[in-house]
Amino acid sequence: MSVVAQSLTSWVDGEAHLDDVTLTLEPGRIHTVLGRTGAGKTSLLRVLAGLSDVDSGDVLLDGRSLREVPPWRRETAMVYQQFINYPHLTALENVMFPLRRAKVPAAEAQRRAKEALEQVGLTHLSDRRPGALSGGQQQRVAIARALARRARILLLDEPLVNLDFKLREQLREELRGLFSGVGETVVVYTTTEPAEALMLGDEVIVMHEGRVAQVGSPAVIFETPATTAVARVVNDPPMNVIPGTLQGEHVAVRGLDLLPRASHLAGFADGPYLVGIPAPSLTFGTGPGVLATITFVEISGSETFVHVDLQGTELVVRAEGIHDVSTGDRVSMTVDPSRLFLFTEDGTLAAAPPHGRS
């Protein structure tokens, strides 16, 4: 009972929305699809739902082709990033709608709908129409409607992106709980936020320019990103990727001093590479080190991302907590050489830092 996407390819106006996408999606697991806007995430969901056609490739459910199965017979539930509900129905009627379509008896449908609304904490608002609900509440109704159906495939297309910051955080937490009860459903969840993908996903699918760049558990994706594209998209802020060379005992990176070659970089031939410097592996201070100029400071609430100009190279540093530094300050940079990633010049991963992390 799995969903298989077989070399899905779709071109729209000479642009590949999906390019040879092959995936196996298992029931009972949460698959998060991580990628920037335009990476093909929404196209993938629409093809799975039967809402868009592909130029080639097929979707198989339990080995059976879905090519000629129209959307209304696919048993797919979807939650959109816009809060989509039927404006003329109350919250309860909205949740009951798909159940009644699936010929669930009225009493049973009502019971299940109420249960789903309770799960998302909206029991007290079940008589309201979507127009009288806040954005967050509307999205809860949409989620309840998708859950109550117990559809075979549950697709969520950046469901939290249009919510307020705190609401997003809160609902993300709740989704983890809600997903734990999906049983035999195949869940696919798209997002542009790495933390969301890693936190919710049993399996993370990273997409880049219409292709699947990497599939794996959150730990695998984060700790051994297959390409520089994955490394950038899975880190917040994106990983610094800079041309460098391996030279005997050292790693030379443009702008930085020669760094000692850490043990995980042994065994690679000397020569040019792309060096991945995770933002948290950089630290800034007043001590010795290479001097850099701060160009911009971002504060995420609990961390500070400091963008620096290091002799013409743009780097971003991630520091825990809130630091009182400002644009134009000169700081000294140090790098933890044991945390460097090594990519070949075409961007594929050569070496990742040893984990020993978990």
Binding site: A77, Q82, I84, Y86, R101, A102, R145
Partner: protein
Amino acid sequence: MSRWPRRAQYLLLIVWAVFTAMPFLWAITTSFKDVNAVQGHVTYVPWLEFEPTLEAWRQIFGGAGGVNLVGPFVNSLIITVCASAIAIVLGALAAYGLSRFRYRIGPAKNKDIVFFFVSQRIMPPVVLVIPFFFLLQMPGLLDTRLGLIIVTVALLLPIAVWVMVDFFDNIPREIDEMAMLEGCTPMQAFLRAIVPNSAPGLTVAAMFCAVFGWNDFFFAFRLTFTQVQTLPQAVVALNSSIPPWWTLSAAALFGIIPLLVLAVLVERYLSKGNLAGAVR
């Protein structure tokens, strides 16, 4: 700041309000006049300048020496309602399809098909009426309500499509997509998810259809004769000979009263912003 834009605004409003109201005021006063009040010199104010009488109103409802306008009124009503209903059903279906799916008929794409519908308004009635005459003559539909209904549908369909395409374009397509994912066929999605949320658009389309349907004169004039007479036809017939102005005025007012109700409705929908989609 100078205050003249504000003054110009009020001046315009007053002048235009008077201009708009004039024919109505004239028709209303005249409908209570008799031959003495019309001949000789022009009179305006009842009681002061002439003695009002209900004679004209009695005549148009079949009073002695008059014409009965009740029959034409019923004809107009039946034809307008039926033709509008058919045009809206066909128009809404086509508009929904054009708003949601991609069509290709020969070289024509969606925009061209919409244009084809709307462009039918360019056909002058006088060009159509002779062929229609023969078209209706063959199956014996001349001088029948059914015949006029069919012709009126052709007249109204472009209007219905024009209003509804824009309206549907403004309903998020995710709503019907979701309905489909939840087990509705496209037709069910249309009927259960879209139509219930289209009351404003359908109402606007219905209002336009009603206005253009009710006000048609030319087709009725040439395609019906004795059996079926519509209200505009009956009113104009009064005008053709020596005008009994009071009867003509009463008949004219009677013929436009149903549409005054529509003006109020249109304004209400306008204020709610429901007409916006139609003009973009």
